[in-house]
Symmetry: C2
């Protein structure tokens, strides 16, 4: 859109001096699967608000997370860089998925430039609502990395814990804890009742109203997590879905997105606000069917580098600018939201480092398609690459036989011989190649002898070579765990009388089984 149009990005708007605009992003990063939205074919079709968002906006059926797991994907979104660059990976084992549990010592490095930090340069106010997941020690606090406001938690809402072996996860308002999950912020594991999505919705609505009143451009990162096990919903939604408790949570998120978009319309800033909806990894099929979603026709789920683990629902919405009811086959990634948001704010991405995000504005505003490889990493290992319609697997692995035999199954009901393997299988010389158009479920590898195979490999191999030749891996952040760094005494605990005494420091290698 160049300089003429000036419109808000991912959550972004124009810098002062340009045509006034605002922006938000109910980027519900929440391990919802590609197949969980009606518009993506979920049979119960219980997402009327997201479906309407798609009808008024643009659908990206070929949109990917940056990782099959939450923390690395979120770090990639906010830095515009692959986890292998920004440090959100582990070298404790090969191809291991790592995240930021309570004992995690690492987090987002200071030298990484986060989207809200950069948007400050264009006068944006930024807020994160929900799960941060980029490290919970004080130096990793979101307000030290560009956000002006925060309401939410640093880790997942696992628990309840007894405060002795492990403290309950804190909920923050800005710099300080205002309570803990299962204590001040109850989640009833038996009934699934919790009103957290309603609280997160109010936080979003209030923030938008305040920015609009101040005429300030804004970036809202609405990172709700009701669809992450333990799945929850508030009472009006419990038991209302045909899909069980998981569906109740989806319905509440859908309803909330509808309310956020309606507020933008009511405030008459819809046409100045760019909104993007997506997820951080595929549906967690190990939690299905009670607490896990659907990856539609795709193979496997969260934790894997098959399509079900990383292809995400994605909708762009910007009334009057992004054409309504369109589908873009641009291959996109979470990291593109970084670059696109900067572009919307009239800012260039940092030039002193590699940025993996692509500016999606040409795709959205002018229907332009840009060829680019999609990289599927699992920890320190490049497992697969998609270029055009062809996906090449250099390594295949779901999880170990040992785990699998204990019932940990990332691909329930699915088994593609030689593909969904339980040992790490190397194919770096002769990758398994699939045509995702004809075979989105990755069930029929191309014959090694076919001309199609050779042509696809001929295109993919140089792209991979180029990528690997220039790659400078970041310092791995997810290697060391320590009971002492848990949320024993987060800032603000004294006021609440909720400080716990941390145990002695015992740093050790984190254990990442898969």
């Amino acid at each position: 859109m160049g300089h003429g149009g000036c419109g808000p990005g991912f959550s972004v708007t124009c810098p002062p001096g340009r045509k006034e605009a605002r922006s938000t992003s109910p980027c519900s990063l929440l391990q919802m699967g590609w197949g969980d939205l009606g518009v993506y074919g979920e049979p119960s079709r219980e997402t009327p608000n997201l479906d309407r968002m798609a009808a008024e906006g643009m659908l990206f059926p070929n949109f990917y997370s940056a990782n099959p797991l939450c923390s690395p994907s979120r770090a990639a979104l906010l830095t515009g860089r692959l986890p292998i660059r920004n440090g959100f990976y582990t070298t404790n084992g090969r191809a291991r998925n790592a995240y930021t549990p309570q004992a995690m010592v690492g987090g987002i490095p200071d030298q990484e430039l986060l989207l809200p930090e950069l948007l400050k340069g264009a006068g944006y106010a930024s807020k994160i609502v929900g799960k941060w997941h980029l490290g919970h020690r004080p130096r990793f606090h979101p307000l030290r990395h560009g956000f002006d406001e925060w309401f939410g938690s640093p880790n997942c809402h696992f628990g309840p814990y007894d405060g002795r072996a492990q403290p309950n996860i804190p909920v923050y308002r800005d710099w300080e804890m205002v309570g803990r999950y299962y204590e001040e912020f109850p989640i009833n594991l038996k009934t699934g009742e919790a009103n957290l999505t309603q609280v997160y919705l109010q936080e979003a609505l209030d923030f938008i109203k305040r920015q609009q009143a101040d005429k300030r451009p804004f970036f809202l990162y609405w990172a709700v997590d009701a669809t992450h096990a333990p799945v929850y919903a508030s009472r009006p939604f419990l038991g209302t879905s045909q899909r069980g408790r998981y569906g109740d949570a989806v319905r509440e998120i859908d309803d909330s997105v509808g309310k956020i978009l309606q507020l933008l319309r009511d405030l008459r800033i819809a046409e100045a606000t760019f909104v993007f909806f997506t997820s951080d990894n595929g549906a967690a099929l190990i939690s299905a069917p009670q607490q896990g979603g659907s990856n539609g026709p795709f193979l496997c789920g969260k934790q894997t580098t098959f399509e079900g683990g990383m292809r995400e629902p994605a909708i762009a919405w910007w009334p009057g600018r992004v054409p309504a009811g369109q589908v873009s086959h641009q291959q996109g990634t979470l990291m593109d939201l970084f670059t696109t948001s900067l572009s919307l704010a009239g800012l260039a991405p940092p030039s002193d480092r590699v940025i993996d995000g692509l500016d999606l504005l040409p795709a959205m505003l002018r229907g332009r398609l840009t060829d680019r490889p999609i990289f599927y990493y699992r920890g320190n290992t490049l497992m697969a690459v998609t270029l055009g319609q062809h996906k090449a697997h250099f390594w295949t692995w779901t999880n170990s036989w040992e785990e699998f035999r204990q019932g940990v199954d990332f691909c329930p009901g699915q088994n593609v011989s030689g593909v969904t393997t339980h040992t790490q299988e190397e194919h770096t010389r002769l990758p398994l190649i699939f045509h995702l158009g004809r075979d989105p479920g990755e069930r029929f590898p191309l014959s090694f002898a076919s001309t199609e195979y050779l042509a696809a490999l001929g295109a993919i191999a140089p792209a991979v070579q180029q990528h690997q030749k220039t790659l400078v891996p970041g310092q791995p952040q997810l290697n060391v765990c320590d009971q002492a760094v848990m949320n024993w005494a987060p800032p603000g605990c004294k006021k609440l009388g909720k400080c716990l005494t941390p145990p002695e420091s015992t740093p050790e290698k984190c254990s990442w089984p898969h």
Copy 2:
């Protein structure tokens, strides 16, 4: 809709004397899968016309064929009765899928009343375009069973044959053959080129124009088959899909549906015409990925009684009457199109026999949901029943180990332990029960000890008992095969100089391996 509204049905319209109306039905019965439409989540989203049809009409995500195979489903559609009643099954083996190959002696019994026969009573003109599949001997000719016109073939477009061991399948115009596949009606197996869908489209458009000019109510049964292997498309569509040749065929059918609907608009009879789009069985995954489609998130495909074998894409369209952009969770079947069409024509279904079809007008016009069981038969065996959200499998079987080991796989990439079995497993006392809302992929059987299981069984068991107690199976039509009854010398062959001499009659039991 009672007497007030008077509107066309499945392909139907009002009887003379009532508000004039016409109707058609591009009921593309063609083993397209549930997941092949953009509106049902196909990732390439290449069906803009069908998606628009859904946006202007009503989607039925819980719509079923009457059988996991073509002939029985089509017989059920036109009779409103399960194949077990109308004779479209075999007793040569247990739970065998049977259809009408060239050597089939049987076909639709005279005592069955077909939809076009009944619609005559309301002054309708009826045409079938495409595949008949209800028997090819003269007594089974569609014009002897109520249709006024026919352009198409009695069997699948398999071939080419050499005219010695087997003749090529004839193409009929009305009473007489006008040529044969691979001869006068070429299909290039190498390139996939055939212009048959274009011919079928013209036949449909011409018929509609003529009826409109004559102000006659009409029933059009547009039974194209380009997505049935060997899959074909005409040159303008070949190579245009992201999904390969199968996608080319889907795109041409989608384009044709768009042209039919546009003609109805242009002739100003859209609001007097009820159109329904659906399929006769799930996508044939044994033909995937080159020549088979997608069943979305569902288990297995054609030939099986899992959801992938029998859940079908379904769209109802009737501008101004069926509300636009709605989704109905009414469980529907192909047989409902029989009853609904009669209802639209102001006719009652026959009262001297059991009719399995439900009138869908209350669902479409008033949003009413009617509880009813869905029966999944495979040949002579009731394999499964769905009631509400629960599906109970009384028998599980895909195909034999012998076939499976030879590479015949109805569930490629899918394997649900104890469910997708290769021996016929009986569960009549304790059926496997799935909750289709939480688990549309039939991957997680309910625990036998759960209260949910007991409640579901308590509801399903009496429905099954009632069904079986009153069932009077029809004379099985698909038991006997004879080389002599093949299409050696169909009516009209003399004019064309294309009569072949049949071999001696050697009736034998047809072989149905699965």
